[in-house]
């Protein structure tokens, strides 16, 4: 769908504030529900929303990826709201996650299975956030399986992404209490879904008069 590049594809300052408020509610609920399932508290920090061009996403990701090995888990989601989640874990998170996600042996945590530990953990955290966000916005979401990605793939995105496709990118630093795990979730709302998001945020505000 070609929706052009005008105001209909950009969240205004007020809409960004509402979106942030919706996410605060959604992620608070996601955090409580994840705590019940994981028996651990996932602390989702205040989300920061930016409107940017799709081709600038690699630079945003690079801002958040300092030195040191990182595992990156990427998933696409589809509903009326659609986009991607990109989750970053430092290598140091693997043992905490291995314990949290199921009593794996130290050998499993350190062997090639470590990629799968990050994938499963990423699916839970990103999936939980998106599911509750979709609830708040009265949407229904389906997901692709999580896949591990590499920073350099983002450069390929940069080269192929058409110019002037505005997306909403949300940075959500998170940590898991008592498991020595911290990371960053970047959630994007695609260019195509921005008009629906704007309408949905308006509906959300109307509920509160």
């Amino acid at each position: 769908m070609d929706i052009g590049t005008g105001q209909e594809a950009i969240l205004t300052g007020e809409e960004i504030d509402i979106f942030q408020e919706v996410m605060n509610i959604a992620f608070g609920q996601a955090s409580a529900d994840l705590a019940e399932i994981l028996n651990a508290f996932v602390v989702l920090n205040v989300p920061e929303v930016r409107m940017l061009d799709e081709s600038a996403l690699p630079d945003l990701i690079r801002e958040d990826t300092g030195p040191g090995a990182l595992s990156i888990v990427e998933q696409s989601y589809w509903g009326k709201l659609s986009g991607k989640t990109v989750l970053f874990f430092p290598a140091s998170a693997r043992e905490g996650l291995a314990k949290l996600f199921g009593e794996f042996s130290r050998e499993d945590a350190l062997s090639c299975a470590e990629k799968e530990i990050f994938l499963e953990a990423g699916n839970f955290i990103a999936g939980g956030c998106i599911a509750r966000l979709a609830d708040c916005l009265d949407d229904l979401i389906t997901y692709t399986a999580p896949r591990s990605a590499e920073i350099r793939e983002r450069d390929a995105d940069k080269e192929t992404a058409p110019a002037l496709r505005r997306i909403a990118a949300v940075r959500i630093p998170f940590s898991i209490d008592q498991h020595d795990v911290s990371g960053l979730l970047i959630l994007t709302a695609s260019h195509e879904s921005i008009p629906w998001l704007k309408a949905s945020l308006k509906r959300f505000m109307e509920q509160y008069g």
């Binding site: 994981l38 199921g102 994938l119 499963e120 939980g128 997901y143």
Partner: protein, 305 residues
């Protein structure tokens, strides 16, 4: 379309199970019947755990709750879970696997007004793929002659273990091992017997190690052993036991007994900044052992020269 979906459901080469929120079986396709030997009519309406009590496990329940509570799909990888349903392998190329290796997913099925009604589990048999992958990985990290890990594996594992020891402030030690006068063995008895000595030494060294230790062939007649969670003083005890076992190896060439000995250098990670510095420290200790008469263990005294 329903009749077509039913045909697909039963014909597809994937196990499909539909559960209600109380984990009772609502649908069970032919693939599941075939591999479980549990017919549809016996399991329908019954709790899944009556037939598979091993699934009543925190990991299964965590994923099931995730699917029910969030309406999310969950992916249960073979690498972490090996399998969900304990079926016998169906493939002739199943390798050493006792159970069919499975890649599974759990996802919600919604009814009217998008209300979550059921959870579907899909089961893919990936046994053949995993068997091939296991063989390929082994070929890539094992030394062809001795069967122990190769130098490539050592370099990756050493960096990983040193990083971890430093991050968590844990002990980590390395032993470098060299067969004394190996060239003389080759020259006297031939390279075929030299290979036998290498294989017997590797096997002897491996037999005294924990499953968390890594024995690698460093090159030629030199071996390197990584001992995570081990202080240098404890590694010296391990090294001394290796030395004594080498001396006691009962090798024969034809009718003739052949005695061998090994020299060993030990270094602890506390004094090493980098993987190469740690290897260098162990190597210097090994050469000190060689230079002071062989058949002995020497521990590094600190920083690499």
């Amino acid at each position: 379309m329903d009749e077509y979906y039913a045909q697909i459901f039963h014909t597809i080469d994937v196990g499909l199970v539909i559960l209600d929120k109380d984990i009772r079986v609502q649908q069970w396709n032919r693939w599941m019947e075939q591999h479980s030997s549990i017919p549809f009519h016996r399991i329908i309406g019954r709790p899944l755990f009556d037939f598979f009590p091993e699934l009543n496990h925190p990991r299964f329940l965590m994923n099931f709750k995730m699917a029910v509570k969030f309406g999310n799909s969950c992916f249960l990888s073979q690498k972490l879970n090996k399998y969900l349903f304990p079926f016998k392998p169906a493939s002739a190329f199943a390798g050493e696997f006792e159970h069919m290796q499975q890649c599974c997913a759990m996802f919600p099925l919604r009814g009217e007004e998008n209300a979550l009604k059921y959870i579907c589990i899909s089961v893919n048999d990936v046994t053949e793929t995993v068997a091939c992958e296991t063989r390929l990985v082994e070929m890539n990290v094992r030394d062809g002659l001795t069967g122990i890990y190769n130098r490539k594996f050592l370099e990756a594992k050493l960096t990983e273990e040193l990083d971890r020891a430093r991050r968590y402030g844990r002990a980590f030690s390395v032993i470098m091992i060299d067969i004394d006068h190996f060239k003389k063995v080759n020259d006297s008895y031939g390279h075929g017997f030299g290979d036998t000595v290498l294989k017997s030494t590797a096997s002897m060294l491996q037999s005294g190690l924990r499953t968390t230790d890594f024995l690698t062939r460093y090159g030629g007649e030199e071996f390197c052993c990584l001992l995570p969670e081990t202080e240098c003083s404890s590694a010296v005890i391990v090294a001394e036991r290796m030395r004594a076992n080498a001396e006691a190896l009962a090798l024969t060439h034809g009718e003739n007994p052949v005695n061998i000995s090994i020299s060993l250098g030990v270094a602890g990670a506390a004094a090493a900044d980098t993987p190469s510095a740690l290897i260098q420290m162990a190597d210097e200790a090994l050469y000190a052992a060689k230079n002071s008469g062989r058949n002995r263990v020497i521990a590094s005294r600190g920083k690499a020269a």
